[in-house]
């Protein structure tokens, strides 16, 4: 390979990564410029240009992909401002998906080491490989967010939000209150749903499916009902105030944690419904509610800011 061959190969590697309409023109110019640069180096060193000299020059010029990228406007898919959020959400999401998948795989009885390895293999193919949709979906979301930000910069302007602000205002709080009241109504006697929709003419099997066990009705059910009911005065106070005060938030957090604990108790305890199918579905929904509630509380805790100087104590005492 002589110096011309080296330059030819380099130019080809750069040009092939450029848009077709400018590829040949840029290649022709780049080749001429590189030949001129090489000749200047040869003249400067007092020897004939050779392949080694050309390779040294081109390595300093840059990787072909980098050089090709410099010829084009910078393409940003995910804005740098979203970089950390993208990585954080990707990692958290994958961990949640992998953990739930692992629990599902290992939940079935495993009798031998072979079965364990088979379960792990299934987890790898059905959960880990399949979970790659998550970073893909996030990339699409952040790409759309970046495009929207560039397309309508004014719509993204920062606006102050008061502490305790409730999205949707009082109307949303009233709807929340109605939702809680309906939830209590259904929690008291789920079969009323059938009466409401079918006027008492639903199949007997449907009524049986929505019948609580006596143990749940008199134990976990009562506790759950009371905990959900504490949301009514809380929401009423928020509607009157028009926002969530710090005290209300604290009471709400404590209530949410207590409700999660009560639901976990109900899931771990005996059957909730007489029918096993209804029971397992309800327990699955309760686990989902617990996970989502804890996730929401975790996010709120993570986003909590208390302006405090670092090492104030040591400076004062030092």
């Amino acid at each position: 390979m002589n110096a011309n061959d080296v330059i030819e190969a380099y130019v080809n590697d750069v040009a092939v990564q450029l848009p077709r309409k400018q590829r040949n023109d840029v290649a022709f110019e780049l080749r001429a410029l590189l030949n001129e640069e090489l000749q200047a180096r040869a003249d400067g060193s007092g020897r004939v240009a050779d392949a080694g000299m050309a390779i040294d020059m081109l390595q300093a010029f840059g990787q072909p992909a980098e050089v090709a990228a410099r010829y084009r406007p910078t393409l940003v898919v995910i804005d740098p401002v979203d970089g950390h959020a993208f990585v954080r959400l990707t990692v958290i999401g994958l961990l949640v998906i992998w953990t739930l998948g692992l629990i599902a795989q290992l939940g079935a009885p495993i009798q031998s080491a072979d079965q364990f390895l088979i379960a792990l293999g299934q987890w790898w193919t059905k959960t880990v490989i399949a979970s790659l949709w998550w970073p893909g979906a996030l990339a699409v979301y952040f790409a759309i967010a970046a495009w929207t930000r560039r397309r309508w910069p004014q719509s993204q302007a920062w606006k102050p939000v008061a502490a305790g602000h409730t999205p949707g205002g009082r109307a949303a709080l009233v709807m929340g209150l109605v939702g809680i009241a309906l939830g209590l109504f259904v929690l008291t006697e789920p079969r009323w749903v059938l009466d409401a929709f079918w006027g008492g003419n639903a199949a007997p099997a449907a009524y049986e499916a929505l019948t609580y066990t006596e143990a749940f009705r008199h134990r976990e059910g009562v506790v759950l009902w009371l905990l959900v009911a504490t949301n009514i005065p809380l929401l009423a106070a928020a509607i009157v105030a028009g926002r969530w005060t710090t005290l209300m938030r604290r009471v709400q957090t404590a209530g949410s944690l207590a409700t999660c604990a009560a639901m976990a108790w109900a899931v771990a305890g005996g059957p909730i419904f007489i029918r096993p199918a209804a029971d397992s579905m309800t327990k699955g929904l309760m686990v989902l509610i617990i996970v989502l509630t804890l996730l929401e509380l975790g996010i709120r805790l993570h986003r909590n800011v208390k302006p405090t100087p670092d090492n104030m104590g040591s400076r004062l005492t030092g």
Partner: protein, 111 residues
């Protein structure tokens, strides 16, 4: 990060900031890539060829440079020069640079 690392990165940032203005300033008349690089180096601002040559194409795509292929004493070369928009841009950037340069001089003056 060591001191030399920090200096290298920060100096690179400074050089990036003046790259376009320096390039535009030397294209009031027609020049081809290698010739332009030599002119910049002769005036104390050497720019890596891997940075300068793609920059010329990008500035042309942005509509501030015109270019044409010509044969003058050698192989065919693509010559670049400022167009009307490029001259306006050079004027604005020059004014801005002078303002910043003056401010920096005042800031950096030792008491």
């Amino acid at each position: 990060m060591g001191d030399s690392d920090a200096f290298g990165k920060l100096e690179l940032e400074l050089r990036r900031g003046v790259l376009v203005l320096a390039t535009l300033s030397q294209l009031r008349g027609q020049r081809y890539g290698y010739e332009l690089r030599q002119a910049l180096a002769a005036k104390g601002l050497p720019i890596e060829e891997g940075t300068l040559y793609p920059l010329l194409r990008r500035l042309e795509t942005q509509g501030v440079l015109d270019s044409e292929w010509k044969i003058e004493d050698g192989p065919p070369r693509r010559y670049y020069s400022l167009n009307a928009d490029g001259r306006k841009l050079l004027k604005k950037l020059t004014d801005s640079w002078k303002g910043m340069n003056g401010a920096m001089d005042r800031l950096l003056e030792e008491d």
